[in-house]
């Protein structure tokens, strides 16, 4: 099955640069694991929620607002698309993600196929 992991991080948490992440053992061990198992089918790290623009359409008018649609204490900081056998495997991987270990969370969403 394919799942998307939404990597969620506290809105007031620290923001590591890509260089810092590349050297951070919490991340490198996770990245090494998913690379070696070839389960990540795609993904991206996202800029913080403060850089988001929310787009809505009413009639033929496009409405933009600064920031995320829903304000919350966490924001989606990245996604991984993974392919594993079942939800248990997806949960196992999600539970080892640095975000889940460090005060954030990982939402596991099955891909609709």
């Amino acid at each position: 099955m394919k799942y998307v992991l939404f990597i969620c991080t506290p809105a007031d948490g620290e923001e590591l640069s890509p260089e810092e992440i590349a050297e951070d053992p919490r991340f490198t061990s996770y990245i090494d694991e998913v690379r070696s198992r070839d389960i990540v089918k795609g993904g991206a790290r996202l800029r913080p929620h403060t850089d988001a623009t929310t787009v809505r359409v009413q009639g033929d008018e496009v409405l933009l607002s600064d920031g995320p649609f829903v304000e919350s204490k966490e924001y989606v900081a990245g996604i991984d698309i993974i392919e594993v056998a079942d939800l248990d495997e997806a949960i196992a991987l999600a539970s080892r993600h640095p975000a889940a270990l460090g005060g954030g969370s990982v939402e596991v969403r099955p891909v609709w196929e």
Partner: protein, 438 residues
């Protein structure tokens, strides 16, 4: 032929979960599995009348249900691959065939047993909402109907039906595996299953009035499920511990409330009315579990329950043992409620002052703020030490927080007792007091 009806009823209780479990594995379709199981039981009524009750009703029902599933799948022209799969599974399991009259039906059921375990673990998967786990367990494993489950949980039937539909959809769409978890997940998942069964039992145990009889039935269902689990996982001491705990609690269930529906405390209960056979079975199971040398929270709670159940009179209760057991339990379950229970036991074993000191400690920590049993416990210890005015004050505080009606009536009764004891005391002192006030 009433015998046949009786046989079908018994088979339903004994075999429903197993038939559904096997059909889910074979078809991968929870709804179809339920439908076909239902159909097989309906057919049993007719066919058993005509042909007699088969030697192994479970095997007959499973085969009949599976054949029905094959028919449905064929009619729906489901992919040939799936049909082959079902047919192959049918061939691989000769022990299901009713014409296979060899053996006594025991010993070659390992595959079937695994199916029921698969079903238990899947129903209790932690990715499902706890309410969904409970509902699914009662529906698919215990065979309760949706209206029955709805009544037991005091929700409209449509709500319960929706809950079951959602749960099954999540299992399918989220890829929750239909299996007994692998070794590294097993301890944690087993704890989850035990939690669902215990919750079920407590739902029934909390029910008091006659109108809530449908809820008390949950106790019997929980015990039945715990028995199944204990048969399937005989080497897990906590599984035995849970069954022991349920039996020990249940042996005292009928004396917990009086005819008026009012709570009766353990010390006031009629011990001769306790179900001795149930208590003895629970005690024996507990001993068997403890012999394995791997204690856990259910075994310890069962041991506490056994201390109460096996004391010939309330006065002979071994409170020191109980206090020690609560101390042990707190190591596994670091909860303020466990420590509050320990405070009661310490108060009974070492004197009310020692108990009150522990209660004060818990009150200072604030974890139990708003929990009516904190002031109620304090009140009881004060009452026992004769400090009636302070006890009354604490009962009033507890009454502000209590939600359950039976408990409220109990606390009000206690408060009234404190007041009358206090007024007797003050009444006796009335004259001198007047003198002083002059």
């Amino acid at each position: 032929m009433p015998d046949v009806e009786e046989a079908v009823t018994v088979a339903f209780r004994e075999e429903w979960g197993q038939v559904v479990a096997t059909l889910i594995r074979v078809t991968g379709d929870w709804d179809l599995a339920e439908e076909c199981a239902q159909d097989a039981f309906a057919q049993a009524l007719d066919r058993w009348r005509r042909d007699g009750v088969p030697r192994r009703p479970g095997a007959w029902l499973t085969t009949t249900a599976r054949n029905r599933a094959l028919d449905v799948l064929r009619r729906e022209a489901v992919g040939a691959a799936k049909l082959r799969e079902v047919a192959v599974l049918a061939r691989d399991e000769p022990s299901y065939e009713p014409e296979d009259a060899s053996g006594d039906g025991r010993g070659d059921d390992s595959g079937v047993q695994d199916d029921r375990l698969r079903l238990i673990f899947t129903c209790c998967h932690p990715a499902l909402h706890i309410e969904a786990r409970v509902a699914l367990t009662l529906r698919t494993l215990a065979g309760l109907t949706t209206p029955e489950i709805a009544r037991a949980f005091l929700v409209p039937e449509a709500t319960m039906a929706q809950r079951l539909v959602r749960a099954k959809r999540k299992i399918r769409n989220a890829g929750i595996p239909y299996r007994v978890p692998p070794a590294h997940l097993l301890p944690e998942r087993t704890t989850g299953v035990l939690g669902v069964i215990y919750l079920l039992f407590n739902e029934g145990y909390a029910a008091t009035a006659g109108a809530e009889l449908v809820r008390t039935n949950l106790c019997a269902e929980a015990i039945r499920l715990a028995r199944v689990l204990a048969r399937l996982m005989p080497d897990e001491p906590e599984v035995l511990g849970l069954l022991a705990l349920l039996l020990l609690h249940d042996s005292r269930r009928h004396t917990r409330v009086d005819a008026a529906g009012d709570l009766v405390t353990l010390e006031d209960q009629d011990r001769t009315a306790w179900d001795r056979a149930e208590a003895d079975e629970g005690t024996a199971l507990l001993e068997a579990a403890l012999r394995r040398g791997r204690p856990g929270p259910y075994q310890i709670q069962a041991a506490i329950s056994a201390c109460h159940t096996n004391a010939p009179t309330a006065e002979e209760t071994d409170w020191a043992d109980i206090a020690a057991l609560y101390g042990e339990l707190a190591r596994f379950v670091p909860s303020a409620v466990v420590r509050l229970n320990r405070a009661v036991a310490v108060g009974m074993a070492e004197g009310t002052e020692a108990g009150l000191a522990l209660v004060a400690e818990l009150a200072d920590e604030g974890d139990l703020a708003g929990y009516h049993l904190l002031p109620a416990t304090r009140a009881d210890l004060l009452r026992r030490s004769g400090r009636m005015d302070e006890a009354a004050e604490a009962y009033r505080r507890a009454l502000e927080l209590v939600e359950n009606d039976a408990e409220r009536r109990f606390l009000e009764k206690r408060l009234a007792e404190c007041r009358s004891a206090w007024s007797r005391f003050v009444g006796g002192a009335k004259a001198p007091l007047r003198h002083w006030s002059r």
